[in-house]
Symmetry: C2
Subunit: 347 residues, 2 copies
Amino acid sequence: MVKITDVAKKAGVSVATVSRVINRRGNVRKSTEQKVLEAIKELNYIPNFSARSLKTEKTLTIGMIVPDITNPFFPIVFRGAESVVKQEDYTIILCNTFEDEYEEMRYLSILEAKKVDGILLIKAPGRSGNEQYMEKLNTLPIPIVYLDRLPKLQDIPAVVADNIGGGYAATTHLLKLGHRKIAIITVQYPLTVHLERLQGYVNSLRDHNISINKSYIKKGIPTIEEGISLGHSLLSMKDRPTAIFVTNHKMTIGIMRALEIAALECPKDISVVGYDDFDWESVFHPRLTVVAQPAYQMGETAAWLLIKILRDGVDDLPNKKVILSPELKIRESCGIYCQSKSKLKMP
Amino acid sequence: MVKITDVAKKAGVSVATVSRVINRRGNVRKSTEQKVLEAIKELNYIPNFSARSLKTEKTLTIGMIVPDITNPFFPIVFRGAESVVKQEDYTIILCNTFEDEYEEMRYLSILEAKKVDGILLIKAPGRSGNEQYMEKLNTLPIPIVYLDRLPKLQDIPAVVADNIGGGYAATTHLLKLGHRKIAIITVQYPLTVHLERLQGYVNSLRDHNISINKSYIKKGIPTIEEGISLGHSLLSMKDRPTAIFVTNHKMTIGIMRALEIAALECPKDISVVGYDDFDWESVFHPRLTVVAQPAYQMGETAAWLLIKILRDGVDDLPNKKVILSPELKIRESCGIYCQSKSKLKMP
DNA sequence: CCATTTTATGGAATCGTTTTCACAATATAT
DNA sequence: ATATATTGTGAAAACGATTCCATAAAATGG
């Protein structure tokens, strides 16, 4: 293991000078710098990160906690984040919590011990009685930027998508197409994102004076199977909805299966709006109309925000919460529903 | 920042004793240990990882280099690896190379500097003239376990799927169904995995005395678009194949699109065997017959192998290369082709 | 050419652990 | 009870960088 003293000896200078060269601190004569650089190259010297971190209290590492990297939304966010942090020579420790808050706590402690410089946190759904965990989150000596999902904390740095807007856009789109019996399938976990998408749905219906039918609101866990079973229960209603808005991608897959099993044609018999958009979306039949989230951009923005905080501190931040807009991508899974002739008032 | 001396002072012992308690080194009286543990808890002491790493030369961190975390195969591998390393308190730095060997080199240097304990490497396709890089790979002072894709190096620890077997199984399946004009769409990069899948295809045809039609072998980059265009070129041949074996998942999506565009029905008009199997596979129409790789298990095994090497060294390893078998999952995308009545000899 | 400012350099302390070595305390054997 | 083996404990030396401070060398001004 070649170390800084070896370089110093070889270059005929002190370790202090070598350190100055490495860290571009200046105050080094050009010729000296040259000698040092040569010695470094010749000895193939690589500074020891642990030693450096011990002194500087910087690890050039950030932690990223995701609920499930297998959910195709999160790899995109990861890449977005990575693309910006790498420019500042940061590296990312990726932690998968399986949507489990205990795992999240465990990882948070590890990241704290490992002294990462900052954390990008996409929260797992919170269980009850986690007050002291929230307290810990809030007092962790490491800057956290929350991503996508928000905890119940005030005024924290966060990057989220406009989920109310997404839910509103999806629902309004269906209303414009003439649908009045619009169901929503959403996730039962206490996650802000799904609560807000539901809120958008409710807001849209209310704004258009459509009364809300509680039996059209279904909640479950975000799996394909659950999507199928929730789809079944919706399709077997006497007063079956003419359109379904699904706030989760896996459940959307389930819905499409349920339609197929029920021998219903989309969009002829029933319209569907999904959530999230991936590059393999073209395999759906019909191709899905979806609310597409700016996943990559969310990752980029969060990373950018974190790095800014790492550099300038959290205090002089103009706005701690960044809200990015999703985009309604209209494709082929929604049809026009004409039965009701009532004029639709648009906002 | 509370440190070990604070704990020592509070517990009325020396730092050496505190260290012994923390690291379970033994030789500490029960009552002393109790005092120390209490002090730790009371002060909320967390050992400083950088300082520890500096002394022990262990970071409890491993690097994982993947070509593209957006390819759904790799998140599964990641989870597999994470599930085993977490049991040993390791943490994973995830590095995305975008299938670019220069990025890979860059990350490798960073991981070396950061002194990760080991590396899980899924190689990017190699460019020409990378001899000194290979040399560097081979002499890196950090244990590497190669995953999925192998470099041209002899006798290195690696975990791969049996790609020849996968290609053989897919092709043989089609042959059994009566197909004789079987095309293959594969990736042009010099990657062992695709070369081997092609090899399996060739082997199967040869074993069954079917002559190889070079125009049925198409290569391209692994994207949906390329799959579409390669599909087009195959479908527009005068002597169009009756079956297509695609060695890459994204290209498979493209093929299915191409069939749709050409108004060909699968499996009635043409049969397809794809590669890789994900939980959203059910969205395909028809559901695809695929060669499913044991992605999770590959991640697990590689991590397990790496940890074993970290613990016992690389020398007393029975076999450095672990080959896992893929599984042919027969679903609905392959039909029987009866035109040729010739008896098919099975091996 | 000397006084003064600026720039370049090295010595040594420091970061927070682990670990070796010496020795003290206790347990075991005779 | 004494000799010996075992166990428990602390002082101090690493580990490999960064950085403060003092001083040497060079540049600048008159």
